[in-house]
Amino acid sequence: MKILVCIKQVPGSSNVEVDPVTGVLKRDGISSKLNPYDLYSLELALSLAEKYGGEVETITMGPPQAKSIIDEAVCMGAKGGTVLSDRKFAGADVLATAYTISQGIKKCGEFDLIICGKQTTDGDTAQVGAEVSEFLNIPNVSNVLSVDAIEDKKLFVTASLDEKIVKMSINLPCLISAEGDINTPRLPSYKVKQTLTGDTARFFSFADFDDQNPDNYGLSGSATQVERIFPPEKNSEKAVIDGDAEEQSEALFELIRSKKLI
């Protein structure tokens, strides 16, 4: 079975500052890491490959240095991967990102199963996976908690639907998005890292894609435009309430009421 996992490089810390004037994330000096949600989908893919046979590849879209997360996935057990990188892809919203990734996947070959993480920790939209499946015209299940069996070219999954847990089958090839925290991702191997030779990733740019219309990619392919990014207002005011439980709850109630929150 051939499994492809979509991964993304995100800022290494959740405390990335936003330039109050330009609204741009201050990425200088901030380390990056593999999106934590993608670790669960990678682990799911690697354990499925171990159980049912097959191999795991990864794909990402980003600047050339995003290759480091392809390497990291290799250190966890993936075979290799693809970086989709081109200035024409910059400024892509969810729609343009999903379209670019779907074009990239088509160039990578045939896969039985594509797994995405639930969301990224920088974008947090949780929409790319489902949209990629639309562009590839394959079925999709989101919020997958577990893959229970693979039989007769069908995937049997348990998925979370807000207040319900559903079990369903889905025809292969398909795309699933894994929920967060569904497993404990394996750790990258230092031993494998020492053997990396630099040929773990191939690079595809706009020129490699079938669709050569630049209006479908990047900023111009985006249906939405970000007007402004700004940090939420911070309130560092702290109040400590002393007393026993009754006194504390009384004082807290008064405080909330005085602020007209209730």
Partner: protein, 464 residues
């Protein structure tokens, strides 16, 4: 020799601490009769929740005058019965004294009340870009308790123990007198170090009501390595080799597969790798990624060259959490795996850790009892647990006595000591006496008498 609390005494306590903060008889939750391990238990006659140094001083004046025993308790996470009021009397509970009073950025100190929890202090320091290095596994312990046992923890390999980070203490003497010991100073050759006598004295000399603690700038980069070995022998033998490489990791912990599986069960959460029998977990910290990476690589290469199966990189918050949360739960996990247990917290020279662990394995076999262990391979402090499982009362007592006798004897042979960080309290005092002999114990008793002539403060502990 002690007086019992009278109605008048209780009214006096209520006048000092407030009616709601003084409980007696059935009003006291039975949890206050024991600590985390529960080997010794005794209910106090009165439980007083204190809030200020002055309150404690007033209570001690009363207790001194009336000759009533007083025991101090923080979160009750101790393991040797130090906070158990074995002679009854008053139990002073300090968890309401939980304010962080001052962060002195010029002198790199933080001033805290004794009831501040270790996890609260650690988080506060980090929020302000500082590190409070002592890192005992029990994060819900109070700082007062940590100072009272001179707790060590995982980062002791590089940064030392609680004692190394206590600059000054405000204490209440058994007669109620308030003293300030030490100061916000980096050096101190001013007579006997009374502050250092108080650290590790388990509440027997005086009551800590405020502490000035030293902070370090927060290292900017920290990476851990989880290194699997085919067996415990090769894992532990790697430790002296790592020290020989002149690289000092922040922490070196060892853990067996069995212990990890207990933690998985207890937490309901899988550990990232359980394929191998033994692991060492190392942490490296520093201010640049390059430096930390170089240290990590050197140690990973060394481990691979001496039999490690791999070296897994633990480099993000999520990965650290998946590994260290299991490490933090080992004690509770082993406790949950058995009906009852008792612990041995010996410390041996680092190059004897392997032999000591092997000894516990052969002892377990010989006595037909489970003796799981984990601990600080990098500083020789081992946490060894004897599990009761299905043993009868008589067999359990007998097994415990034999196992403890033999383990402490073996530690002594290796040049080790009875306790690395949990203290002596009530449970281990016989072993301390056995190891130290008459003169050191007599000196300790003399010190206790000078501080507390009437022996009212935490009586029946350490050397009495």
């Amino acid at each position: 020799m002690y007086n019992s609390l009278t109605e008048k005494d209780i009214q006096a306590l209520k006048n000092i601490a407030g009616d709601a903060n003084v409980l007696t008889g059935d009003e006291i939750n039975p949890d206050f009769s024991h600590d985390e391990l529960g080997g010794v238990s005794k209910m106090p006659d009165a439980l007083v929740s204190v809030r200020t140094t002055e309150e404690i001083s007033a209570i001690m004046k009363l207790a001194w005058e009336r000759c009533i025993p007083v025991t101090v308790r923080g979160s009750g996470t101790g393991l040797v019965g130090s906070a158990v009021p074995v002679c009854g009397g008053i139990l002073l509970e300090t968890t309401k004294m939980n304010k962080i009073l001052e962060l002195d950025r010029d002198n790199l100190t933080v001033t805290v009340e004794p009831g501040v929890l270790l996890m609260e202090l650690a988080a506060f320091a980090e929020e302000n870009d500082f590190l409070y290095p002592p890192d005992p596994g029990e994060k819900s312990a109070t700082i007062g308790g940590n100072i009272s046992t001179n707790a060590g923890g995982m980062r002791a390999v590089k940064y030392g123990v609680t004692r190394d980070y206590v600059r000054a203490l405000t204490v209440v003497m058994p007669n109620g007198e308030i003293l300030k010991l030490g100061g916000k100073v980096a050096k101190n050759s001013s007579g006997y170090s009374l502050k250092d006598l108080v650290i590790g004295s388990e509440g027997t000399l005086c009551i800590i009501t405020e502490a000035v603690l030293k902070l370090l700038p927060l290292p900017k980069v920290s990476v851990s390595l989880l290194v699997p070995f085919p067996d415990m022998k090769s894992a532990i033998e790697a430790v002296p080799r790592i020290f020989g490489s002149k690289i000092t990791p922040t922490a070196i912990e060892y853990m067996s597969r069995d212990t990890i599986l207990f933690a998985e069960d207890y937490l309901g959460k899988k550990f990232p790798d359980t394929k191998n029998d033994a692991y060492i977990l190392l942490t490296f910290d520093g201010n640049t990624e390059y430096q930390v990476e170089e240290d990590m690589k050197a140690v990973a290469d060394l481990c691979l060259s001496i039999g490690a199966i791999d070296a897994y990189i633990v480099d993000t918050e999520e990965r650290k959490k998946s590994v260290w949360s299991a490490r933090g739960a080992f004690l509770e996990a082993i406790k949950a795996s058995t009906t009852e247990m008792d612990e041995c917290d010996v410390v041996v020279p680092v190059n004897r850790v392997d032999e000591f662990i092997k000894f516990t394995h052969s002892l377990a076999k010989e006595m037909n009892v489970r003796i799981p262990s984990f601990g600080h391979a990098g500083d020789g402090n081992l946490h060894v647990y004897i599990c009761r499982d299905t043993l009868s009362d008589a067999d359990w007592e007998n097994t415990l006595t034999i196992c403890f006798d033999r383990m402490y004897k073996k530690a002594d042979e290796f040049g080790g000591l009875v306790s690395g960080e949990h203290g002596i309290g009530f449970a281990k005092k016989e072993y301390l006496k056995k190891q130290y002999g008459d003169t050191p114990i007599r000196l300790m008793q003399g010190i206790k008498k000078v501080f507390d002539e009437k022996n009212i403060l935490n009586p029946g502990k350490i050397c009495f």
